[in-house]
């Protein structure tokens, strides 16, 4: 499982190594601007630009307190990567930016791998409990309602969200829920609802409940899928 990412990373690191080696001989356009070599490359249109940038670089470096060698190498090594913080640069009045505020990049939080592939003991989807919740929810909402085409659209959507919320409270964490509600007019027609799933039967399950009165019927199903 963990091997694939490392295989894919390996070629990319090799590529950057090749790029750096080529930078000295056939320079990448970016490498020209950030290159630490004082000699200009043998490219015609770039020659006019290179000395100007080098002179600007020297003026910027003179205002920095840190050693210029280390700063140059860090910029050259990661042309597309994160830049060093611009905090110390703003202290010096000689450096001017276009006026846009520069913020520190927000550090991304990387969650650690829990290495858990199955739900804990006793923390599985309890089908009986969820079924009781569904029955209670359906009876509570539809107890005294009559079918009407206009209001049933909104009713069924709110019922689906309500039942999903109620089921979420009784279902253990790390479970994804799919709540499906069918609501129809009661007119002596025949109907069948079936479902089948491709999942892990040890950790995933479902619960369903139905309700009917004189004017309408409803079928609610909640499928719980364990999220590894």
């Amino acid at each position: 499982m963990a091997e694939q990412p490392s295989l894919e990373l390996a070629p990319s690191t090799r590529v950057t190594g090749v790029m750096a080696a080529d930078g000295t001989e056939t320079p990448h356009p970016r490498a020209i601007h950030r290159g630490s070599h004082p000699t200009a490359p043998s490219r015609g249109p770039e020659e006019g630009k290179a000395p100007q940038l080098l002179s600007r670089r020297s003026s910027m470096l003179s205002t920095l307190a840190g050693p210029p060698g280390s700063r140059r190498s860090s910029l050259g090594a990661a042309p597309g990567g994160k830049r060093p913080s611009v905090g110390p640069w703003l202290l010096h009045s000689r450096v001017s930016f276009s006026g846009l505020p520069l913020f520190q990049p927000i550090p991304e939080t990387h969650l650690e791998n829990t290495y858990r592939m199955r739900p804990e003991e006793g923390c599985r989807f309890n089908a009986g409990r969820v079924q009781r919740v569904l029955e209670g929810g359906l009876a509570g909402v539809l107890g005294g309602t009559t079918y009407s085409p206009q209001s049933s659209t909104v009713l069924v959507q709110s019922l689906a969200e309500l039942l999903r919320g109620q089921a979420k409270e009784v279902v253990p964490p790390r479970y994804k829920l799919v709540c499906h509600v069918l609501l129809g007019q009661h007119r002596q027609q025949s109907m069948l609802v079936a479902s089948q799933a491709l999942w892990d039967p040890e950790s995933d399950s479902f619960a369903s409940a139905s309700f009917s009165n004189a004017s309408l019927f409803a079928v609610a199903t909640v499928h719980g899928v364990y999220f590894e």
């Binding site: 069918l182 027609q189 479902s195 089948q196």
Partner: protein
């Protein structure tokens, strides 16, 4: 890699899978109370087989509702608690002279 289920082309594939399954099972048949059990089972099973052949790392839930056409109204809704960037759903409505059929496919991603 996680295949993004919000990709519309993948949802279209799910759509086509379900439609072909319904057509092959129900086709031109009229509603028959004795056969509706095996019809729904066949639709759901064929849909799942087609979805497995796509070869993506997803868990699938397929629901099928077949109703006799008698002028009664029918509404269906679903609410899901999942990762919206990787999981998705597809609904297919089919009808003929004597019955309505609604097939829902829910695809839940497995992170490897």
């Amino acid at each position: 890699f996680v295949f993004c289920c919000c990709n519309s082309s993948y949802l279209k594939i799910l759509d086509c899978c379900s439609k072909t399954c319904i057509e092959s099972v129900l086709g031109k048949a009229d509603y028959n109370h004795n056969k509706v059990n095996q019809w729904t089972a066949a639709i759901v099973e064929q849909s799942l087989t087609h979805l497995v052949k796509l070869g993506k790392t997803y868990k699938y839930i397929v629901t099928c509702a077949v109703m006799q056409r008698s002028g009664a109204g029918l509404h269906t809704a679903s609410s899901c608690f999942w990762d919206t960037t990787t999981d998705g759903t597809c609904t297919v409505r089919w009808e003929n002279r004597t019955m309505n059929c609604i097939v829902n496919v829910f695809a839940v991603a497995i992170i490897l």
